[in-house]
């Protein structure tokens, strides 16, 4: 079996320990690329293996999902008793798999999110881009207004942006709609 500790990013050759945490760049022993490797104690940490679950004896609380197993901790979200196997620790919270799944689906667990659609940017683009061709804003402005209002409550960027883009999109789209209504009235009354 091929084993590796830290490898060269070019040739994937294993770097010797003498090359670790050296201040300057050192040539890779295989491809001679100048490389610097900073390693941390986690590299040598041994993976802990979960011990076998003890079977419950009469009078002891059992796991909700595995009635044969002894309960170790309650889920902090739903309160169900969990064995060590079912306990998922996330950001210091102990959760059961079901709560974890529903939390991920509903977007309540921010640290499990791996993707976000930026509706504020979409709304702003729908308000601004059609202006380049002028007449396309007949469709763009109501669309931007709809998107901004429909997704107002949805989270923006994970970096905690404000709702400024939504506000700008709403203001711009309302102005455009007013402008188009004025043009329409002008042509009807002319």
């Amino acid at each position: 079996m091929h084993l590796s500790l830290v490898t060269c990013s070019k040739c994937r050759a294993i770097l010797p320990a003498e090359q670790f945490n050296v201040e300057q760049f050192v040539p890779c022993p295989s491809c001679a690329s100048a490389i610097s490797a900073v390693v941390f104690p986690a590299l040598f940490r041994e993976q802990t293996v979960m011990p076998a679950e003890p079977l419950i004896i009469e009078g002891e609380a059992s796991c909700f999902y595995h009635p044969q197993k002894k309960a170790a901790i309650p889920c902090e979200s739903c309160g169900r008793f969990l064995c060590a196997l079912c306990d998922v620790e996330l950001n210091g919270q102990h959760l059961c798999p079901a709560c974890l799944e529903s939390g991920k689906k509903k977007g309540k667990l921010k640290s499990l999110e791996n993707q976000r659609v930026l509706y504020d940017r979409i709304a702003l683009a729908a308000a601004v881009l059609p202006l380049l061709l002028v007449w396309t804003s007949i469709i763009g402005a109501p669309l931007a207004l709809y998107l901004a209002l429909r997704h107002w409550k949805e989270p923006c960027s994970i970096l905690g942006r404000s709702k400024a883009r939504f506000v700008i999109a709403i203001v711009l789209s309302i102005l455009q709609i007013i402008g188009w209504i004025a043009v329409l009235i002008y042509f009807v009354t002319k």
Partner: protein, 350 residues
């Protein structure tokens, strides 16, 4: 914009198709890949980071050299001209390349940084420059040391040899098992038809460039422009299609080069437009500009001849190489298709 206290921006920004930035939180690094309307995240908890490697590359040096070469080429061409429009066009193109070279030189040396955890090794696409990598490491090292504890060099060597011993005794030791054994995500099957169209269209584009050297009516110029627009659309489709597909690395790279060339051609045509608009302000609309370009005889206008020959060589070169590579890729795919299973004949009792 509200001040974000949860995440702190780390130096560097990178990525071609998706912009990548790394942000630092109290206990983890957040790598964000952003497109215009979407963000994808990857988290690396400080307690789980095993190593960070930085490898010097020549990318910045090569790009600076290439930009300077192009700038020098266009400046030299402009010296041989008396035509004001041509001089403006060529010098503005040279200026663009000089600006690129200067920006690249200011950026400093380039590198590839990777972050290793127990389960994966990921490239930190935002750290493309050495100075950014150094700054980021200077910020991260004390924080990771705080999360994991500091290690002396003696401890490091002894721990490494102990880890090797453990690995030799137990080949399934999870802490040092190569990540190479984890199965890669399945690749999409790409037929290669769109790629074939790109390279075929490039051949036609080269032929049109050759025709434009001798015949230059407005109709042909409009046709060539529309054709280039279609080529750009097909190239973009091919680039999107090849993401996460089984397209060979060579073909993939060539498609990117073709995409870059099409983008460069577009920039050159913009520069020509600007040059004409500055030198002759009466050309105030697109049609007048096309008529003015049609008036130039490439055989008497060196800058236009140089551009058309450049177009001809690049289009034909990329087209021929691309069709060849695509044929090889399609042949490989055909050869790799397993033969249909033999029909199972039920055993009849004797």
């Amino acid at each position: 914009m509200a001040k974000n206290k949860e995440y702190r921006k780390l130096p560097g920004r990178g990525g071609v198709r998706k912009s990548c930035r790394v942000w630092l939180a109290a206990d983890h690094l957040l790598m964000i890949f952003s497109t215009m309307f979407n963000q994808e995240f990857k988290r690396f908890y400080l307690r789980d980071i095993q190593a960070i490697t930085v490898r010097k590359t020549n990318t910045a040096f090569i790009w600076t050299g290439a930009c300077l070469t192009f700038a020098g080429f266009f400046v030299l061409l402009s010296f041989g001209l008396k035509d004001t429009v041509g001089v403006w066009v060529l010098r503005s193109i040279a200026g663009f390349f000089l600006l690129c070279a200067a920006l690249n030189a200011i950026g400093g040396g380039s590198c590839i940084a990777e972050i290793k955890t127990a389960v994966s090794t990921e490239e930190l696409s935002s750290l493309k420059r050495l100075r950014h990598a150094r700054k980021t490491l200077a910020i991260l090292r004390p924080l990771i040391d705080e999360a994991q504890g500091k290690m002396t060099s003696e401890q490091l060597v002894s721990e490494t040899s102990a880890a090797w011993q453990r690995a030799n005794q137990n080949p399934l030791a999870p802490s040092i098992v190569s990540t190479a054994q984890f199965p890669a995500a399945p690749l999409k099957s790409c037929s290669g038809r769109v790629h074939q169209s790109v390279f075929f269209l490039l051949l036609i584009s080269g032929t049109l460039a050759a025709l434009l050297i001798y015949f230059h009516p407005v109709v042909l110029i409009v046709l060539a422009s529309l054709f280039d627009l279609a080529l750009a659309a097909v190239a973009i489709t091919a680039l999107i299609q090849q993401q996460g597909s089984d397209v060979t690395p060579g073909l993939r790279r060539l498609t990117w080069i073709a995409g870059g060339y099409i983008g460069l051609s577009y920039l050159v045509s913009i520069a020509v437009g600007f040059g004409l608009a500055i030198a002759e302000p009466t050309n105030n609309n697109q049609w007048k500009m096309l008529e003015r370009i049609a008036e130039f005889n490439p055989l008497e206008t060196p800058w236009l001849l140089a551009l058309l020959i450049f177009n001809l060589i690049c289009s034909l070169g990329l087209g021929i190489i691309g069709i060849n590579l695509n044929k090889k890729f399609r042949d490989q795919k055909k050869a790799a298709v397993p033969p249909p299973p033999l029909p199972v004949i039920p055993a009849t009792p004797h």
